[in-house]
């Protein structure tokens, strides 16, 4: 098989330096730098409004940056927008399929925007419909599709030009768990054949599932960077005990928990006890007669990393 792109695996396909976008007084993206390698699955994790989508749009050159540099496949998207976008597949946060057109026509119309001939698009549309598991809906109007189906069609549409780089902005927001897993499976398979994925998400499980490496963004700045596992190792303990004592008692109990934990986070509804030995910590808490209403021992996640870095939860 021919390689997906001219650049080999591991070579950077996106390089951003000191990227900044200012709207009036708001520094939506505030001097961030990152590099994405060919074949990698790269995540931008952060709460809503952190600057993820803004960053994504500057990669495709559909949003002008205030300052900093950006190179996509060696080109500046601000100057060579059409050339850069010819390399890309874009899955926007909000679907913008034409609901009056059929599934198939949505793919063909989109392919034409890349100057692709009908002879190519006729067979390509069938392959993409197959990939999106929409064969039975090929001739249906898009308005008849479920949310998950529309997302899969949007992803299929983004693949019509066989892009090196697929940009996915909140790909599974609004989908039910089953639809999310189907979608993740589709994305895994693309990654397996060498498509570079860039994913923004405010779901930690999505980031953990999909991303080899990610940056955690808050208020337009990078808070941390690394693989999900290394971020958890670096910024959290191995395990977490979640205990609830009821809103009244939580504050009173905190003092008695301090020496049980490496670190404590007090949330409105629960206390997070960070420790490398969750069961042991829970036994100790029970032995002290604190009797939590509910308790749960779990592994640390990116949610904990985010909480540590920003003092806030991802999804409020």
């Amino acid at each position: 098989m021919p390689p997906v792109t001219a650049a080999g695996p591991g070579e950077p396909i996106v390089v951003a330096e000191d990227l900044t976008k200012v709207y009036g007084d708001n520094r939506a993206v505030d001097g961030i730098s990152f590099s994405i390698s060919q074949g990698e699955s790269f995540g931008l994790l952060g709460p809503n409004g952190a600057g993820k989508s803004t960053t994504m749009r500057m990669i495709g050159g559909t949003l002008t940056r205030t300052s900093g540099t950006m190179r996509v496949a060696g080109l500046d998207p601000a100057e060579r927008g059409p050339e850069v976008r010819a390399h890309l597949g874009v899955v926007p946060q909000q679907d913008n399929l034409d609901e009056e057109l059929t599934v198939r026509d949505n793919l063909i119309v989109y392919g034409r925007y890349f100057g692709l001939p009908h002879s190519y698009l006729r067979t390509k549309a069938d392959e993409l419909i197959e990939f999106a598991q929409l064969t039975e809906k090929a001739k249906a109007k898009t308005t008849a599709l479920s949310g998950g189906m529309k997302r899969r069609l949007t992803i299929a549409r983004a693949l019509v030009n066989e892009p090196k780089l697929l940009l996915l902005d909140e790909p599974t927001t609004g989908l039910d768990p089953q639809a999310r897993h189907v979608l993740w499976d589709r994305l895994f398979r693309l990654k397996e054949v060498g498509v570079t994925l860039v994913v923004t998400t405010h779901f930690m499980d999505e980031a953990e599932q999909l991303c080899d490496r990610l940056i955690v963004i808050d208020h337009g700045r990078i808070m941390a960077e690394g693989s999900p596992r290394s971020l958890i190792r670096e910024h959290s303990t191995r395990e977490v005990v979640e205990v609830r004592f009821g809103a009244q008692r939580n504050a009173a109990v905190v003092d008695q928990l301090e020496d049980v934990a490496t670190r404590l986070e007090v949330l409105p509804d629960r206390i997070l006890v960070y420790t490398d030995d969750g069961e042991g910590a829970l036994e100790e808490i029970t032995a002290r007669g604190l009797n939590p209403i509910t308790s749960l021992v779990r592994r640390s996640s990116l949610e904990d990393v985010f909480l540590r870095l920003t003092g806030r939860t991802l999804v409020d």
Binding site: M1, P2, P3, V4, G60, T62, L63, T64, A73, R80, G81, P82, E83, R85, A86, H87, L88, V90, P92, Q94, N96, L97, D98, E99, E100, L101, D105, V109, Y110, R112, Y113, F114, G115, L116, Y120, K124, D126, E127, L128, E130, F131, T135, R157, A158, L159, N161, E162, R189, L190, E192, V193, G194, V195
Partner: protein, 297 residues
């Protein structure tokens, strides 16, 4: 069928199929795709527009045939009989012949109020349809031009149907061939007003209730006071400006020359054409700039 490869769908999940999906080798280099889009992006959007138009073409066809019939029967034949019995002729011709070219221009120009208002809002806001092509090598300026030209194709069909009905009503004394020039004149008049309307619509952030205002206080006065039903000179001088700034009047005066040979000084004919072309060019440029700004920020 015995050959299972013909009946069974291709399973896209084999590695080979996926590799073909990701890199079939049938896609030109990105530079080539970008070069095509730079050259033809506006046309790709016209193609898209025409594909969506297929869905509503039947209903719009009934409207495009029905509207000229209603207007020509009511005003040309009905009111025309009254006028012809009363004052004889208007501008030297029967009232039907006088009013028909004006009705063609007016109805086509008025159609901009539906085509280049709410659909523009849908593109930016309601269905975000413009943002699909925006993520491709096609530029916002090309989207603006493509949308505009798609609508102009529709107006060409609309003007041609109206003209054919005028021919059937025997309202084209200068003959079928020359009178067919009302078709491009009608499209040019609609372009002159429509491009500006599109540019204006592209600046609106809210729900577009301004369009009702445009309909009532811009489009209707143009229809009523721009020399459609009576010559501009029949109105008091202080109202003539409505005609002079109105694409409907300039278009109507041109249309009357080609359908029944209305007489005008040469310079005035030139002014009509220049006015309509200048408005079109200005409108398209403004729309392109507005689309580029709105989509890039």
């Amino acid at each position: 069928m015995t050959d299972s490869s013909l009946t069974d769908p291709v399973v896209a999940d084999s590695v080979q199929d996926l590799q073909r999906l990701a890199a079939s080798g049938r896609v030109p280099a990105p530079e080539v795709m970008a070069a095509r889009a730079r050259r033809w992006g506006w046309w790709y959007y016209v193609e898209y527009w025409l594909r969506t138009a297929k869905a509503w073409f039947q209903s719009i066809l009934i409207y495009m045939v029905g509207e000229p019939l209603l207007y020509l029967i009511a005003l040309g034949v009905g009111l025309g009989t009254l006028v012809d019995n009363g004052v004889g002729t208007v501008d030297g011709v029967p009232y039907l012949v006088f009013v028909a070219p004006a009705l063609l221009i007016s109805t086509v120009v008025m159609s901009t109020g539906g085509e280049l208002t709410y659909p523009v809002m849908a593109g930016f806001k309601w269905d975000r349809l413009y943002y699909g092509p925006h993520a491709t090598p096609v530029t916002p300026a090309q989207i603006a031009t493509g949308h505009f030209l798609g609508v102009m194709i529709r107006f060409t069909v609309q003007a041609a149907i109206f003209w054919a009905i005028m021919v059937a009503f025997d309202a084209v004394p200068r003959g079928v061939l020359v009178s067919a020039l009302v078709i491009p004149i009608g499209v040019l008049s609609a372009a002159a007003f429509g491009a500006l309307l599109q540019a204006y619509a592209s600046t609106l952030q809210d729900e577009g209730y301004q369009f009702a205002f445009v309909q009532r206080f811009v489009i209707m006065p143009m229809f009523l006071f721009a020399g459609t039903f009576f010559p501009l000179t029949a109105m008091p001088v202080y109202l003539h400006w409505i005609g002079w700034i109105s694409p409907v009047w300039h278009g109507t005066q041109l249309a009357r020359q080609v359908t029944y040979g209305a007489v005008e000084p040469m310079w005035l004919t030139v002014v009509h054409v220049i006015f309509l072309v200048a408005l079109t060019v200005a409108g398209v440029l403004l729309a392109r700039r507005s689309y580029t700004r709105r989509m890039g920020s």
